[in-house]
Subunit: 169 residues, 2 copies
């Protein structure tokens, strides 16, 4: 089951770091890549820099959201503070075992998104962050196993109670 | 079991939105408040604005991190990409049933933090975001129940498959 993130909406100054955090979460929590509507060089640079040290292969592309959603073969999920509670739909989504496009918005999203996806899912009903919404969704989807994935990077963390320990290969 | 977040480190321009997202996650995922080293008016304003509509009571304070940690009665946990895997320590933490201070850094943290806490916990061993690290930690700690909490706000979301539905009281 492949997952891809579509980052909908973009406010260049306000969302600069937020977009980077979002891409790093998408990568660290096991998705294949992130699509944006406009190119954000800061995001590409940050992800490539992480990749060169910590491994993995994560794609970043720019595409029109409507046509990308239309062409997506698999499940389309929009995360927000509205929609159905995560717990109510997760079992069905896992059971379907199809590729998943996860759409996360910045601020206001186009209203028609609610009708263009298969599921509108609410990660709680309080405002928080698309970064946390994505992380919790993927953590529940992959049942925590995404955190053990081997990225086969030059650097590798060695679990340690009292220090910042890692090895270089 | 009360939880409080300490936001360690602060880079005013770079972290502006990130700090706000972090505070909103702390609030939405059930902690009582967030402490920072320096006052960030943007964070206070954003949280108060959310609170006035969506309810709850979340405190924001500024304090020196070393003295705050020293005075904390309960468990001190530092989240990062180093430390022990979440799964290995969560059961013990829940079993201890004490108040928890969750420390999350921005970029580089002072090295002595690793010795001043009870647990260094790694949310995966890949770089991602303090926002996602905090959300996943709290989601695991509260076993998802934090997402159902009633904030008793003027606005309340009504779960809905196809629309942005809420009521005003």
């Amino acid at each position: 089951m492949k997952t891809v993130v579509f980052r909908l909406g973009y406010r260049p100054i306000r969302d600069k770091r937020v977009n980077t955090h979002l891409a790093l979460v998408a990568r660290a929590f096991g998705t294949s890549g992130m699509i944006m509507e406009d190119l954000d060089n800061g995001v590409v640079k940050a992800v490539r820099s992480v990749e060169s040290r910590w491994g993995g292969k994560f794609f970043i592309q720019t595409r029109n959201w409507k046509s990308y959603l239309k062409d997506w073969k698999g499940i389309k999920i929009h995360l927000s503070m509205y929609g159905l509670p995560l717990d109510e739909v997760m079992e069905e989504i896992v059971f379907r075992d199809e590729d998943i496009l996860v759409i996360v918005g910045a601020g206001k999203v186009p209203g028609d998104i609610y009708n263009l996806v298969d599921y509108n899912i609410s990660i709680g009903t309080q405002p928080h962050s698309e970064i946390s919404a994505l992380a919790v969704f993927l953590d529940r989807l992959y049942k925590g196993k995404e955190l053990d994935r081997d990225f086969n990077g030059k650097l590798r963390v060695i679990p340690s109670q009292r220090s910042k320990k890692f090895v270089r290969s």
